[in-house]
C-alpha cells in the first residue's frame, strides 16, 4: 500500500506528471518508426543523429544561444535527410554513412567545446556534456513550453505515421517496385527522414544521445520476435515502448536511478521475455 501512496504523492507534483506525459509521447513516436529503421538497416541512425545534435548543441553553447532547439532541430533534420532520402541508390550505404556522420559530429562537437570553453565562463561544461550524452534529470525540470512543444510534435508525428502508414510499408518493403508503380518514393523517404530527425531531437531530452538507439530499436526487435505481420509488429512495439518507458520512469523516480538507463534496462528485460516467448511459440507450432 505504501508504495502506491508514494507514487500518488509523486504524481501530485506537476513536474512528475509532465515528465510522464513527455516520456510516454516520445517513446510512442520513436517506436513507430523503429520497425522501418531496423528493416532499412538504419538501427544506428539514432546514435548518428544524436551525435549530430550533440555537435550542434556544442556550437549553440559556444555561440551563447540560450534556446539551442533552434539550431539543433534544423541541423539534425538536414543530416537525417542527407542520410535517408538517398534511399537505395545513395553513394555511401546505410551503416557506413551513419558511422561517418556520427563520429564526425561527435569529434567536431567536442573539439569546438574544448577550444572555445577556455575563453568562456568554463563553468560546468563537462557536466553539460555528460547530461547530453546520457540524458539528464532535465526531463524532471521541463518547462511548460517544452511540454507543449513535445505534445504538438508528437501529435504531428503520430498523425503523419498513420496517414502514410501504407506508403511507408511499400517503400520499406520494396522500394523499386513502389517506384515503378508510381509511388513517390523520394518524397516518402524525405518524410521518413524528417519524422525521424524530429523524434530523435525530442528523445534526446529523455534518454540522452547515447541511449536513443535503444528507445528506437528495442520495442521493434522485441515485437518482431513474436508477431508476423507489419501491422501487429507496429502496434505491439508502440504498446511495449509506452509501457516500458512509463515503468522505467516510475522506477527511476522511486529509486532515484538515472532516467535514461532505467528505461533502457526495462526495454532489455522485455526483449529477453519476448525472445523467450517467441521461442516457446515456435516450439508449440512444431
Amino acid at each position: 500500500m505504501s508504495i502506491f501512496s508514494t507514487i500518488a504523492q509523486y504524481f501530485s507534483y506537476p513536474y512528475v506528471v509532465n515528465a510522464m506525459v513527455v516520456g510516454v509521447l516520445i517513446s510512442l513516436c520513436s517506436s513507430l518508426l523503429g520497425v522501418t529503421l531496423v528493416l532499412k538497416r538504419f538501427s544506428f541512425i539514432g546514435d548518428g543523429l544524436s551525435h549530430v545534435a550533440f555537435g550542434a548543441m556544442a556550437v549553440a553553447a559556444v555561440t551563447g544561444l540560450t534556446d539551442n532547439m533552434y539550431i539543433v532541430l534544423p541541423v539534425t533534420v538536414i543530416c537525417a535527410v542527407l542520410l535517408l532520402s538517398g534511399g537505395q541508390d545513395s553513394v555511401i550505404k546505410g551503416d557506413a554513412a551513419v558511422a561517418m556522420i556520427s563520429v564526425g559530429a561527435l569529434a567536431i562537437g567536442y573539439l569546438i567545446m574544448n577550444v572555445f570553453s577556455r575563453n568562456l565562463r568554463s563553468s560546468n561544461l563537462s557536466a553539460d556534456v555528460c547530461s547530453t550524452l546520457f540524458g539528464s534529470t532535465s526531463i524532471l525540470t521541463l518547462s511548460n513550453t517544452e511540454v507543449w512543444l513535445c505534445v504538438i510534435l508528437s501529435v504531428v508525428v503520430v498523425a503523419a505515421f498513420i496517414f502514410f502508414y501504407n506508403k511507408i510499408f511499400s517503400v520499406t518493403f520494396d522500394e523499386s517496385f513502389a517506384k515503378a508503380t508510381g509511388t513517390k518514393t523520394g518524397l516518402y523517404n524525405l518524410l521518413i527522414a524528417i519524422i525521424i530527425a524530429v523524434i530523435i531531437v525530442l528523445a534526446m531530452n529523455l534518454v540522452g544521445s547515447l541511449l536513443i538507439s535503444a528507445l528506437v530499436i528495442f520495442p521493434a526487435l522485441s515485437s518482431m520476435r513474436v508477431f508476423k505481420s507489419f501491422k501487429s509488429v507496429t502496434i505491439c512495439s508502440a504498446a511495449l515502448s509506452v509501457g516500458c518507458s512509463a515503468l522505467g520512469l516510475l522506477i527511476s523516480i522511486l529509486l532515484g536511478t538515472p532516467v535514461g538507463s532505467t528505461i533502457v534496462a526495462v526495454d532489455i528485460v522485455v526483449f529477453a521475455l519476448f525472445s523467450l516467448l517467441g521461442l516457446i511459440l515456435r516450439g508449440v507450432k512444431k
Binding site: 528493416l39 501504407n166 517496385f177 513502389a178 515503378a180 508503380t181 508510381g182 518482431m224 508476423k228 507489419f230
Partner: protein
C-alpha cells in the same frame, strides 16, 4: 494503336550505353519474351521502360490507355530483408499503393481484388502467413499477385521462373499464360528459349545483334547466329 513503343531507345547507366538503339512495339494482348545472354542488358531495358532508370536517348511511348504507373512489375531479385515481418495479404495489397496517390488507405474494392488475385495464384491458404517463411516459389507467386494488383493491362516480369523447380516452373508459365489469355499484355525476360518459343507471339533478342519479330522468324535468326557464331565474338 500500340500499348508500348520504344523508338531507338538507348538504355544505360551514368551516361554509358548498355544497348544501342532498341526498337520494338507491343500491342494489347501480346506476349513478348526478351531473351539474351547474362549481362546483355535485359533487366536494364526493363527498368528503363518502368522509369526506374533514365534512358540515355530515345523515346518510350505509352498508348491505348496505358499509363506508366499502371504497369505491374515482378523484379528479378527482390532485396527483401530476411527479417521483414509482413503477411502475404499486406504485401499483395501494397500493389495498389502507387495508384492511390495521396489517399492514405486502401479501399474495400482494392482489398477484395487483392484477395481474388491471391486466389488466382493458388496461394489462398497462405494469406495470413509471413512472407519470409515461404519458399522461393511461393514468394514468387505472392509478388506476381502484387504485380497483378498494380495493373489491369500490362505485366513486366523479370525472370519469373529463376530458381524454381521444373514442376513449379511449368505451373508459373501456365499461370502467366492464363493471365495473358484474360487480356493482360505480358513482357517477360527469360533464359528459357523453348518456353519463349512456345508461349510468346513476339520475341526480342538482345545482344550484339538485335532481333525483334515472331518466334518463327526468331528460329531462322538463331540458326543464322550459330552459323556465323565465330564472327560474333
Amino acid at each position: 494503336m500500340s500499348q508500348l513503343v520504344c523508338k531507338s531507345l538507348c538504355p544505360g547507366y551514368d551516361g554509358k550505353e548498355i544497348l544501342h538503339s532498341v526498337d520494338f512495339s507491343v500491342d494489347a494482348g501480346d506476349y513478348l519474351c526478351i531473351v539474351g545472354e547474362n549481362g546483355s542488358g535485359k533487366s536494364t531495358l526493363m527498368k528503363t521502360i518502368l522509369g526506374l532508370q533514365p534512358a540515355i536517348s530515345g523515346e518510350i511511348l505509352y498508348g491505348d490507355g496505358l499509363q506508366r504507373n499502371k504497369i505491374g512489375y515482378l523484379p528479378q531479385q527482390t532485396v527483401v530483408q530476411k527479417d521483414f515481418p509482413a503477411t502475404v495479404k499486406e504485401i499483395v495489397v501494397s500493389g495498389f499503393c502507387g495508384q492511390n496517390g495521396f489517399k492514405p488507405f486502401y479501399s474495400i474494392k482494392q482489398r477484395i481484388t487483392a484477395q481474388n488475385n491471391i486466389e488466382k495464384m493458388g496461394i489462398s491458404h497462405l494469406t495470413k502467413r509471413c512472407y519470409r517463411e515461404l519458399s522461393g516459389g511461393q514468394q514468387q507467386r505472392v509478388l506476381l499477385a502484387r504485380a497483378l494488383c498494380a495493373t489491369e493491362k500490362m505485366l513486366l516480369l523479370d525472370e519469373p521462373t529463376a530458381g524454381l523447380d521444373p514442376i513449379v516452373t511449368a505451373e508459373m508459365y501456365s499461370i502467366i499464360k492464363s493471365l495473358n489469355d484474360s487480356g493482360i499484355t505480358v513482357i517477360m525476360i527469360t533464359h528459357d528459349i523453348s518456353a519463349a518459343l512456345k508461349y510468346a507471339n513476339k520475341i526480342l533478342h538482345i545482344g550484339q545483334k538485335l532481333f525483334f519479330g515472331s518466334p518463327k522468324d526468331y528460329r531462322e535468326f538463331q540458326s543464322g547466329l550459330s552459323l556465323n557464331g565465330g564472327c560474333e565474338k
